[in-house]
């Protein structure tokens, strides 16, 4: 039947509808949009496989046929930028409701104390005070992860860090609220605080939290991880070169410019609307329902514009609960806005950590072992810490093929503001340790560090040692590009004293494989709804939280591309939980991958209906129809076709607006050991940076001069935004490596909770960054895209550390690398070498060993291996281990008895554990003798 139909419309004569007969090239009728004729379809954006001229060195992609050449791959201004540049973008504190009250929070002055009593009577007598709430008003716990709900709206029983919430007050204006704050009298019993993360591993008289049966001993250990994979016994036997370093990383804060702010309003029907700059509105939605004890459908979470997030606005926060409680009590809208200092009290920045890194290389220059021990300081609450503890280990199992992987990690509670998720979540510090270690290892082996890396990369479509399924890998291209563009070969170990160049790489998840609240095999990670009415404009409903990274834009671009429409015909409604489908939020670099995929699938349904309508109008055969610029036409004869609006109105006959829903869910992946899901992602991004620095040998001052930053984002849907993410990541990472630090004094007081003493690089410290986009065309990514928001931060830290070594021959083990620290290291080197004037120090030099050639050859061989694998549809499996002579087609632990998979330590290990590993000396209460 189908064939018959095709026959009837094929042949020389085209039956049906012909616009402008005989006039070719066909000029396209517009169908809406700003201009009658929007920008012409750009053949350079259309893949060769679709008849365009876009080269596809990584092979075709399943979304190729949806490319209309409109917008994907073109630098695109953010769709909400006109709001931002006119000052009309409204952030948390800009929501002003009639009759609003101002809320303030009473915070603990003590690091750790029991709250004995709270006397609000004086405050309540103050004219203008309308409502006061304390922990008594909201006793239910919450937390971003369901497994570690350890937060309250306000202190119930104890305060756990200086700045912890005790009570809150709503008054007619800020001055009154501040005065009331002062009048609330709190009686405390001071407890012995813990500030040193190492002490958190010990048993304590009064652990900061009590996890009941799941508590680990009587300690403050919140989470511990043990992982051993591969040939653990063989790693030291085979090692001919090794690196060992104990790092101390200071905690850093997101430093977004917008302080937290929230407005709560209960409407006359009893529904709560909460206006807040949130990265994860849906998690907040759940937490509000728990804390306020009302059903979720009674709450509308309204995400305002978000003035920077970087992970720092991705927890449900106690002050959001406070605003809702005060508004409920007072019957009026309540607005709470933080001082900058309060931003540091709520924190959720990167964990201060102590990381011991051991690397081993064998005689063939293979990385035969990585041993990591990471103790991370979680501060007072769990936040995302459960995941962070895993990420510190598992996110450095790629891009290199490794012989063995040993990881012990522990996160402890201490009496500091809570650490949490921050750009590059959990991966940044340990990645820095690995990459600096590789630099050291290369030196010991007498090889070039880039050559060493190129000879040890996992191929595309492989499995890491922990069983992560890696799809596209652009790592090799990243390395080759930065090597070439930076002039590496002419500079490395050849620059004069004080000038240096260094390399660093990165690997990051593009979306987390596990949605926190539900089974990924049942519910989607992301859902997008579309509505197309008679005006032709497309309304997108998505819950993706645009935090400035441009998620609204990328979703709009995806829909515009599939439907062949200019961007101004698309409007994105992503603010309110009442109208947006559930989305997990902006974290784990998931939004482009998951939301754009969902948007494409929704747009494909509309596209199908438009094409059906075109077939009906023109009688043309369906399979030959394509969508171009606001027109649906026969690819072989563009004169046959209809305008978008004609097709749309045909499709709307008898039914009105077209609506569709699309969803994205990750494929089944990964292994089954405990913790196997942590770090699992549908795709991974890769990056390699080269940094060039100048170090003043007499003062230790380090200046980054230039950075060549190559990032494999799969496909740059919006190159403008990708470049912005790369450069912005360099800025943030440069802050961490050189100047930023949450500085705690001897008594545990935070010394610098302000933007003057917390040193974010200014425009003058910022080097020139050359962003290099590598497109590896991920098979499952939307149009091939992966992530670009977090991965680009990772390589800058080690690149700068390695460049400083190249410049002055010293390697730091503490970040930030302030001038004092660098100067002390230079001084020490002078002493050791008996040099009195630091300007007479010798630069590090490199003599190639015989291994260099072996590695170069292996790198070349792997290069063609990788190319074949990425283009070969019928490629076999590749499990980490093949480089060590094992069969690539089966998981090594199934065939090789030496290959271990272990997630709990044995007694041999426990006899002499490393620092974080000692967390395993405790027994969980439920396993203790005498208890159940």
């Amino acid at each position: 039947m189908a064939e018959e139909e095709e026959d009837s419309v094929s042949g020389d004569e085209i039956i049906g509808y012909r616009q402008q007969p005989g006039k070719l090239p066909f000029s396209r009728p517009g169908s809406g949009g700003k201009n009658r004729f929007s920008e012409a379809t750009d053949p350079e954006k259309i893949p060769i496989s679709q008849g365009g001229s876009l080269e596809q060195p990584w092979g075709p992609h399943r979304h190729d046929e949806l490319v209309s050449g409109q917008i994907i791959g073109k630098p695109t201004a953010l769709v909400d930028s006109s709001w931002k540049v006119t000052g009309r973008a409204h952030y948390g504190d800009d929501v002003r409701l009639p009759g609003e009250l101002i809320g303030r929070i009473v915070r603990s002055p003590h690091h750790y104390a029991r709250v004995l009593s709270i006397d609000c009577s004086k405050a309540l007598e103050l004219p203008g005070v309308v409502a006061i709430a304390t922990g008594e008003d909201a006793k239910n716990r919450f937390g971003v992860l369901p497994v570690t709900k350890d937060e309250h709206a306000m202190a119930v029983e104890k305060v756990r860090h200086a700045g912890d919430l005790v009570a809150c007050v709503a008054a007619i204006d800020e001055a009154t609220a501040r005065e009331a704050e002062r009048l609330i009298e709190v009686e405390y019993e001071i407890l012995e605080p813990i500030h040193d993360m190492r002490k958190g591993l010990d048993d304590s008289e009064e652990p900061i939290h009590d996890r009941g049966d799941y508590h680990i001993g009587e300690s403050n250990i919140q989470k511990r991880v043990f992982q051993e994979f591969g040939d653990i016994a063989g790693m030291s036997q085979k090692s001919i070169a090794s690196h060992k370093k104990s790092w101390l990383f200071a905690g850093v804060n997101h430093g977004f410019t917008e302080p937290h702010a929230v407005v709560a309003n209960w409407d006359p029907s009893g529904r709560l609307t909460l206006y807040t700059p949130q990265q994860v509105p849906h998690y907040l939605h759940r937490a509000l329902a728990d804390v306020l004890e009302i059903p979720m459908h009674q709450i509308n979470v309204h995400r305002t514009f978000v003035g920077g997030g970087f992970g720092g606005k991705s927890d449900p926060f106690p002050h959001e609960m406070c605003a809702a409680i005060l508004a409920r009590k007072s019957g009026r809208p309540v607005r709470i806005t933080f001082d900058r200092e309060e931003v540091y009290w709520v924190n959720r920045g990167r964990h201060p950590s102590r990381i011991e890194m051991n690397l081993h290389a064998d005689k063939e220059g293979r990385i035969c072992g990585i041993e990591t021990d990471a103790l991370i300081d979680g501060g007072a609450f769990a936040s995302f810490g459960h995941v962070t503890t895993y990420y510190n280990g598992v996110l450095h199992t790629a891009p290199y093929e490794i012989g063995a992987f040993h990881y012990t990690g522990a996160r402890v509670w201490t009496n500091k503001p809570a650490s949490g998720a921050m750009r590059g979540h959990g991966a940044v510090n340990s990645r820095c340790a690995v990459e600096v270690g590789l630099d050291d290892l290369a030196e010991e082996l007498g090889v070039d560090p880039i050559t060493l890396r190129l000879a040890n990369l996992l191929p595309p479509h492989s499995a890491t040692i922990t069983g992560f399924r890696v799809t596209s890998i652009g790592m090799r291209d990243c390395l080759e590009r930065v090597k070439e563009e930076s002039g590496w070969d002419k500079k490395f170990r050849k620059l004069p004293l004080g000038k240096g160049i260094g390399i660093g790489c990165g690997f990051f998840i593009s979306g987390s494989g596990l949605p926190i609240h539900w089974d990924p095999n049942k519910f989607p990670h992301a859902t997008v709804h579309l509505k197309v009415d008679m005006d032709g404009g497309v309304t997108i409903h998505t819950g993706a939280a645009d935090i400035g990274q441009g998620s609204d834009t990328v979703v709009a671009q995806s829909v515009a591309e599939v439907l062949g429409l200019p961007l101004d015909m698309i409007r994105v409604k992503s603010r309110e939980s009442d109208t947006s489908p559930v989305d997990l939020g902006s974290y784990s670099s998931r939004v482009t991958f998951m939301n754009a995929n969902a948007a494409i699938s929704a747009a494909m349904k509309i596209r199908d209906e438009l094409i059906d309508a075109t077939v009906e109008i023109t009688g043309a055969e369906r399979k030959g129809l394509v969508i171009g610029d606001r027109r649906i036409f026969l690819k072989s004869d563009p004169a046959v076709g209809v305008s978008y609006l004609e097709a749309l109105h045909k499709a709307q006959e008898d039914r009105g607006a077209l609506v569709s829903s699309g969803a994205y869910r990750t494929p089944p992946m990964g292994r089954t050991h405990k913790g196997a899901a942590a770090g699992l992602a549908p795709a991974y991004s890769f990056s390699a940076y080269v940094a060039e620095v100048t170090v003043d040998v007499e003062t230790g001052q380090t200046k980054v001069d230039k950075v060549w930053a190559a990032h494999d984002c799969g496909k740059a849907l919006n190159p403008l935004a990708v470049k912005g993410q790369i450069i912005g990541s360099c800025h943030m990472g440069m802050g961490q490596v050189l100047s930023e630090e949450m500085r705690y004094g001897r008594n545990g007081n935070l010394m610098n909770p302000d933007l003057l003493d917390y040193k974010i690089p200014s425009v003058h410290e910022m080097p020139e960054v050359v962003p290099i986009i590598v497109e590896s065309n991920d098979p499952e990514g939307p149009f091939g895209a992966k992530e670009a928001g977090e991965g680009p931060l990772l390589p800058i830290l080690p690149a700068v550390c390695n460049a400083v070594y190249d410049a002055v021959g010293v390697r730091t083990s503490e970040l930030p690398m302030t001038p004092e620290k660098v100067f002390k290291m230079i001084e020490k080197r002078c002493r050791n070498e008996g040099v009195s004037d630091p300007t007479e120090l010798e630069c590090p030099s490199l003599q190639y060993s015989e291994l260099q050639k072996t590695l170069e050859e292996r790198g070349e061989k792997h290069k063609s291996r990788d190319k074949e694998r990425r283009l070969d549809e019928d490629r076999g499996d590749y499990y980490n281990g093949a480089l060590f002579g094992l069969d690539p087609s089966t998981p090594p632990d199934e065939v090789d008895p030496r290959w271990e998979v272990r997630v709990t330590p044995d007694e041999v290990y426990l006899a002499s554990p490393r620092l974080a590993g000692s967390a395993w000396k405790h027994t969980e209460r439920r396993h203790m003798e005498g208890t159940k």
């Binding site: 540049v85 504190d93 103050l126 917008e258 943030m732 933007l755 425009v763």
Partner: protein
């Protein structure tokens, strides 16, 4: 009852519009602009002069409104981000900030725009060093500044060319394309 500071009259011009209001004698300009005038585009980032988000022009000079006593600006001509565009014709720097990625989350944007507009009116063709010097008091955590500097260079070109940024609300020559016509 809290002791109340005296109320004083404050007269000034904000974005071309004259204002005559009563303010507390110790009021900060930022608070007056946001809470009394309604210039919510002027942002509060740190309240201590470290981030530059609250920058406004006082008689054409960039000032940190969070460190300025409102009473000291009595009679002044104040321009906030809302006053940069001419109706719907954006100032070139507003247009290029969007086009060149000078704005990501957008929270620091008003402060940058105000400071840069002052730079460009004094010096329509600043070199890179001059641009950096002008914005050194403004903090941006998203962009790494590079795309902001690019935006300023592009805006400078528009200014020098004498072109005016188009109005997105102006009537279209064919508002209902796709219906007949061809």
């Amino acid at each position: 009852m809290l002791p109340h500071p005296d109320e004083v009259q404050w007269n000034g011009t904000v974005n071309g519009e004259e204002a005559s209001i009563f303010i507390e004698s110790n009021a900060i300009l930022l608070d007056v602009l946001r809470d009394k005038i309604g210039s919510l585009g002027t942002k509060r980032g740190c309240d201590m002069g470290t981030c530059g988000c609250c920058s406004v022009l006082v008689n054409g000079e960039p000032k940190l409104s969070c460190l300025t006593l409102a009473i000291d600006t009595n009679g002044a001509d104040i321009t906030t981000v809302e006053g940069l565009a001419d109706g719907h014709h954006l100032h070139p720097i507003q247009q290029t900030f969007a086009e060149f990625g000078g704005s990501q989350c957008g929270f620091c944007t008003p402060g940058f725009l105000v400071v840069i507009s002052a730079l460009l009116s004094n010096n329509p063709q600043p070199d890179e060093r001059e641009i950096k010097d002008a914005i050194e008091g403004n903090l941006c955590r998203c962009t790494g500044f590079q795309q902001i500097v690019d935006s300023v260079k592009a805006a400078s070109e528009i200014l020098v060319s004498g072109n005016v940024v188009g109005d997105s609300t102006s009537p279209k020559s064919d508002p209902h394309p796709g219906f007949g016509g061809n």
